[in-house]
């Protein structure tokens, strides 16, 4: 079980060159897409589609890394590797935890942005 997500905004801002405009845009896009991303992940599991599962896990890994969520990105990466190895059933077990993590991050970003 991962500890709750804590936004490390200074590290993100350092990466984005202290550009508040870009940060706000990233947050907005993350929040806009979060439900779709989670749904796509679940759909890949239901379809036992290893390639799709790998791709969705990869996308989520990138999104979480964008917000400096290393623990969440590691979880997504573990799933990506399982899917690449064709272990869809084992990967499926990880999906609820990953979705919970994504929603956790989304909750923090929502509170921050007031959306």
């Amino acid at each position: 079980m991962l500890s709750s997500f804590v936004l490390d905004k200074p590290s993100i801002m350092e990466r984005l060159g202290d550009d508040e405009e870009i940060f706000s845009m990233m947050v907005a896009m993350f929040l806009d897409d979060v439900d779709n991303n989670c749904a796509a992940l679940q759909a890949a599991v239901q379809a036992t589609d290893a390639v799709q599962l790998q791709r969705e896990a990869h996308t989520i890994k990138g999104l979480l890394a964008t917000f400096s969520d290393d623990a969440g990105a590691d979880l997504a990466f573990a799933l990506e590797k399982q899917a690449r190895a064709g272990e869809v059933a084992a990967g499926a077990a990880q999906v609820p935890a990953l979705i919970a993590r994504v929603q956790d991050v989304a909750g923090v970003l929502r509170r921050l942005s007031g959306r």
Binding site: R15, D19, M29, R55, T66, F77
Partner: protein, 350 residues
């Protein structure tokens, strides 16, 4: 304005990279979420920088780069590939497969700006080198054209130098050169040879420069001795031109030497017969005689076209190469057109 092509199936990444590209200044981002559509665009457009993600549906970044590099003129365009931190093997493969550099996700603005600027500087260098090469090529072409033009003018002046000592006119050399070209073209010679005979034929009588005035300008009939001296103009012309580095002059030398040879071997200076006479010599013989006959001179009236044609027919196989005669007479409309175009009026020197 640099065209920066960005290919990533993730909308958030596309937006982020687009924003970062705009921050670079003087850049126009072009976005694609599908690599195949991006490749299609690249067939018609040349970006200045390509930023491509590794993991995408349809085709991954490595395949995209391979296909992009295959497109004409796209081998040198800088490509940055975006990979995740954990994809070290992919980065190596990308660098070996034609990527110039890579970016790791999550993207760091400082790193992005430095690498993208480096790639754009590389592209600017390539373009300026290409522009410089094109400029130099243009300059060389212009100079070459100028030199050719001077060569052409020089040949024309040399040809006219002989005429100043001879009653023949500038129009005569133009006509006989064009008649020669008509025959060459109708005989199926390639365009380079056809142009060569046009440029070289005017020098056929340049050796007359070396003939004493009392013989060259004698109004009456030449004695046998005088005619022997007159005949030397063929060899004199050859001597004058033969060692030139110019292909036109060398051809002029050959024509000067052989245009008075006759097909049956009774001509001069070497008494060559048949195909031992170089083709250009055989062609110019027909063109020169026809024009000399049909032109008015201080010492003779112009022959009628019919009489001149009859003489060519009668000389077929004895004086002239039969094929050259038939070819000339078979191109009668063109002959008349040249006759009309270059009438005996003053022809300017340039």
């Amino acid at each position: 304005m640099h065209k920066v092509l960005i290919i990533d199936d993730s909308e958030i990444n596309l937006t982020l990279i687009r924003a970062l590209v705009l921050k670079l200044g003087e850049c126009e981002p072009i976005l694609f979420d599908m690599p195949l559509k991006a490749l299609e665009w690249c067939r018609e457009n040349a970006p200045d920088l390509v930023i491509v993600d590794y993991m995408m549906p349809e085709m991954d970044g490595l395949r995209f780069i391979a296909e992009f590099r295959q497109l004409p003129g796209r081998a040198e365009i800088p490509v940055l590939m975006i990979t995740a931190n954990d994809q070290k093997d992919v980065r190596y493969e990308a660098l070996l497969g034609g990527a110039n550099d890579f970016l790791t996700k999550p993207i760091d603005r400082l790193e992005f700006s430095a690498r993208a600027r480096n790639m754009l500087a590389l592209r600017a260098g390539q373009k300026s080198l290409a522009d410089r090469a094109a400029y130099l090529e243009e300059q060389v072409d212009a100079r070459t054209k100028e030199i050719r033009e001077r060569e052409r003018e020089l040949i024309f002046r040399i040809s006219r130098a002989a005429e100043f000592r001879d009653p023949e006119t500038g129009a005569h050399i133009q006509r006989m050169a064009h008649y020669s070209q008509i025959i060459a073209r109708r005989m199926g010679l390639d365009e380079i040879r056809c142009k060569l005979i046009l440029q070289a034929a005017p020098m056929h009588d340049v050796g007359k420069i070396g003939i004493p005035d009392h013989i060259l300008l004698k109004p009456g009939r030449l004695t046998v001795e005088e005619f022997d001296v007159m005949k030397r103009h063929a060899e004199l012309g050859h001597e004058l031109l033969k060692d030139s580095g110019s292909e036109i002059m060398q051809t002029g030398a050959e024509i000067a030497l052989t245009h008075h040879e006759k097909y049956d071997g009774s001509g001069y200076p070497n008494g060559l017969a048949g195909e031992a006479i170089p083709l250009f010599g055989r062609i110019v013989a027909v063109a020169d005689v026809f024009d000399a006959l049909t032109s008015e001179r201080p010492y003779k009236k112009a022959w009628s076209l019919e009489d001149a044609c009859r003489l060519l027919e009668e000389g077929r196989g004895s004086h002239f190469d039969p094929l050259c005669v038939s070819t000339f007479l078979g191109a009668w409309d063109e002959v008349l057109e040249v006759r009309q175009r270059f009438r005996d009026e003053a022809i300017p020197l340039t």
